[in-house]
C-alpha cells in the first residue's frame, strides 16, 4: 500500500498495520486483504459484490475490521455486506470508508450493510467516513444499514463523518426484538457546499425493547443537512431521540424527529435543538486564554466528541 492508502486506513479505522484477527480490506473495488479466524468467517458473496461475515455463537472479545478505501478517481460502487452474529457473541466491528479523490471524476461508495444479531448477542459497530484529495471530482457516500436484533441482543452504533464528503444520503433501519437494545450515535460535520441527509427508522417491536438516538451535527459555510430520525413503538418499550445541531455561516439544517406509538405501553421521547454557538460560551473560553478561533474549535470538538 502507498502512503495515501495507509493514511486513509489510519483515518477511518485507526489501522497503522494489518490488523490482528478477522479482517477484509477493500481497495478500489477489489479485495486487498482478508483473514478469517476460527470463530469469524469472512466469505465473498456469490450473487453480487460484497462479503458475508459469520460470527460463531459465544465468540467473545474479538474484533472484525472491514475498511473500504477508494484512492483512484472515478470509482463508483455498491457493495452488499451481511453480518450474521451468533447467540451470546460479544464483538466489535470496525467499518469505515475513506475516499482520496485527486482527479476530476466522481468517486462514490454505497455500502449496504445488513446485521442479524442472534439472541443475547452484543455488537459495537464503529463506522467512520472520511474524504480527502484536491481534485475537482466529488466524493460521495450513500450507506444503507439494516439491523435485526433478536431477543436480548444489543447493538451500539457509532457513526461519524467529519468533513471531506461532498454528498451523503444515509438510510438506517433497525428492528428491535424482545428486551433488545440499540444505541445509535451519529456525528456529522459538513462544510463548503456539502450536503448530508440522514434517515433513521427504529422499530421497537419487542416487549421491553429500548432505543436511543443521539445525533450531533455541525453545519458550516453553505452546507445543507437534513435529519429524519423516527422511532416507532409497537410494544411495551422505551425510545429516546435527541438531535442537537450547531449552525454556522450560511448553513441550512433541518431536524425532523418523529415518534410513533402503536402500543399503549410505548414510552417515546424526542428532543431537537438547532442553534449557533452561544456568545457566552466563546467569551468564557476566551477569559481562559483561548483566542476566538481556538474557543470555537474547542466547542465544536467537544460537541462532536
Amino acid at each position: 500500500m502507498n502512503e495515501i492508502e495507509k493514511n486513509l486506513l489510519a483515518e477511518i479505522a485507526d489501522l497503522h498495520e494489518i490488523p490482528e484477527g478477522a479482517y477484509s480490506i477493500r481497495k478500489d473495488g477489489k479485495t486487498a486483504g482478508r483473514n478469517s479466524t476460527a470463530d469469524i468467517q469472512i466469505v465473498s458473496k456469490e450473487d453480487r459484490d460484497g462479503i458475508e461475515i459469520h460470527i460463531a455463537p459465544n465468540t467473545k472479545k474479538q474484533s472484525v475490521h472491514i475498511p473500504v478505501i477508494l484512492a483512484e478517481s472515478g470509482i463508483q460502487e455498491t457493495v452488499y455486506n451481511e453480518f450474521f452474529i451468533g447467540e451470546n457473541a460479544d464483538v466489535v466491528i470496525i467499518a469505515g470508508c475513506g475516499i482520496h479523490n485527486c482527479g476530476n471524476q466522481k468517486s462514490s461508495h454505497s455500502g449496504v450493510h445488513t446485521f442479524y444479531l442472534g439472541k443475547n448477542a452484543r455488537v459495537k459497530y464503529v463506522e467512520k467516513h472520511y474524504g480527502e484529495g484536491d481534485g475537482t471530482g466529488s466524493r460521495v457516500m450513500n450507506p444503507q444499514t439494516n439491523v435485526y436484533l433478536e431477543e436480548g441482543a444489543s447493538m451500539e452504533m457509532d457513526m461519524s463523518q467529519i468533513r471531506g464528503i461532498d454528498a451523503t444520503n444515509r438510510d438506517t433501519k433497525i428492528h428491535v426484538g424482545d428486551r433488545a437494545e440499540v444505541i445509535l450515535t451519529e456525528r456529522l460535520l459538513t462544510d463548503g457546499t456539502q450536503s448530508a441527509e440522514s434517515r433513521v427508522d427504529i422499530f421497537l417491536d419487542g416487549e421491553d425493547s429500548s432505543a436511543r438516538i443521539l445525533s450531533r451535527s455541525v453545519g458550516q459555510d453553505e452546507s445543507v443537512q437534513t435529519f429524519f430520525p423516527c422511532m416507532t413503538g409497537n410494544a411495551k418499550c422505551f425510545g429516546h431521540v435527541q438531535c442537537d445541531s450547531i449552525i454556522m455561516g450560511n448553513a441550512k439544517i433541518s431536524s425532523i424527529p418523529a415518534i410513533r406509538a402503536n402500543s399503549v405501553d410505548a414510552q417515546l421521547v424526542h428532543e431537537a435543538a438547532i442553534g449557533k454557538i452561544a456568545g457566552d460560551q466563546l467569551l468564557k473560553l476566551m477569559t481562559l486564554g483561548l483566542t476566538e478561533e481556538e474557543a470555537e474549535e474547542h466547542i465544536l470538538n467537544g460537541f462532536l466528541k
Binding site: R216, D244, A278, D280, Q281, L283, K284, L285, M286, T287, L288, G289, L290, T291, E292, H298, I299, N301, G302, F303, L304, K305
Partner: protein
C-alpha cells in the same frame, strides 16, 4: 497594582446616553483581597467585565502592573493573568469538567491537582471530572466548577462575580473557607463582588459601588456598620424621608 482611572461606560437608551459607570477611580495594591458591594444595578458587574474586557469601557483607563488593558482583547488580558468568574456561567455540551480545567490551567493537570482544585470548591473529583458541563448539572454545581476554572490558572488577578449566588448554605461555608485560604496565601489580587457579610468581613477593603461611582471605600470595620445599620443607605430619597 491595579489602577483604574475615570472609567466610564455608557449605553444608548431611548435615544439618550445612560451612564452605567460614570467615572470610577480605584487603586488596588498587589495581593489585596477586595470585596466590591453595592445596590443592584449600581455598576459592579460592569466594572468587573470592563477589567476582563467582556465590556469595552467608553473611556478611562485600567492599568494592570503598568500595562493599559483598555483596548486589549479578552484573550490578551487573560494571557496577562486576568481571570473572571461569571455570575451565570455558560454550559457546554460535550465539554467535561476535566476539559474545562485543562483549558483553564493551560496544561494537563495531574490527577492530584484536579482533585485538589475540585476539593477547594467542595466537589468530589471522582463524581465530577468526567461529567459534562451541561444542563445535567445544577446551578450550584456549575457555579462551583466556574470558581474552580478561575482558581486553576493561579492567576495574579482574579475577579469573582457573586460566587455565592446559587450555592446552598452548607456549601457556602466551604466556599468562605476557600476564599479565606486564598486571601491568606497573599499571592494574588482578588476582587470579589458579593452581598454576603461573611465574604465582606474577610476583605482587606470594601469598595462600595453605587450609581456608577465608587461611593465609599474602607475596611470592613468602617464600611460594614454603614451597610448593616442602615437598610436605606444607598437610597437618597429614602434617606431624606
Amino acid at each position: 497594582m491595579l489602577k483604574i482611572e475615570n472609567l466610564q461606560y455608557s449605553v444608548a437608551q431611548d435615544g439618550k446616553e445612560t451612564g452605567i459607570l460614570r467615572g470610577i477611580h480605584l487603586d488596588i495594591e498587589d495581593h489585596r483581597f477586595i470585596a466590591v458591594t453595592g445596590p443592584n444595578g449600581g455598576g459592579k458587574t460592569t466594572l468587573a467585565k470592563c477589567i476582563m474586557g467582556l465590556v469595552e469601557a467608553t473611556s478611562g483607563s485600567i492599568r494592570w502592573n503598568g500595562t493599559e488593558l483598555c483596548g486589549m482583547s479578552i484573550t490578551e488580558r487573560a494571557k496577562l493573568g486576568v481571570r473572571y468568574g461569571f455570575q451565570q456561567p455558560p454550559r457546554f455540551k460535550g465539554i467535561t469538567v476535566r476539559d474545562l480545567l485543562t483549558v483553564a490551567s493551560g496544561k494537563k493537570l495531574s490527577h492530584s491537582e484536579e482533585c485538589a482544585l475540585l476539593t477547594r470548591v467542595g466537589l468530589c473529583a471522582k463524581d465530577y471530572l468526567e461529567r459534562e458541563v451541561d444542563t445535567s448539572l445544577s446551578g450550584g454545581e456549575v457555579k462551583r466548577i466556574e470558581i474552580a476554572s478561575v482558581l486553576a490558572a493561579n492567576a495574579p488577578l482574579m475577579i469573582f462575580d457573586e460566587p455565592e449566588a446559587g450555592i446552598d448554605l452548607w456549601s457556602f461555608s466551604r466556599l468562605t473557607e476557600t476564599f479565606g485560604a486564598l486571601r491568606d496565601r497573599r499571592d494574588a489580587t482578588i476582587l470579589v463582588i458579593s452581598h454576603q457579610e461573611r465574604i465582606l468581613s474577610m476583605a482587606d477593603q470594601i469598595v462600595m459601588v453605587s450609581n456608577g461611582l465608587v461611593s465609599d471605600i474602607g475596611t470592613p470595620e468602617e464600611i460594614l456598620p454603614k451597610i448593616t445599620g442602615e437598610t436605606v443607605c444607598f437610597c437618597k430619597a429614602m434617606e431624606k424621608a
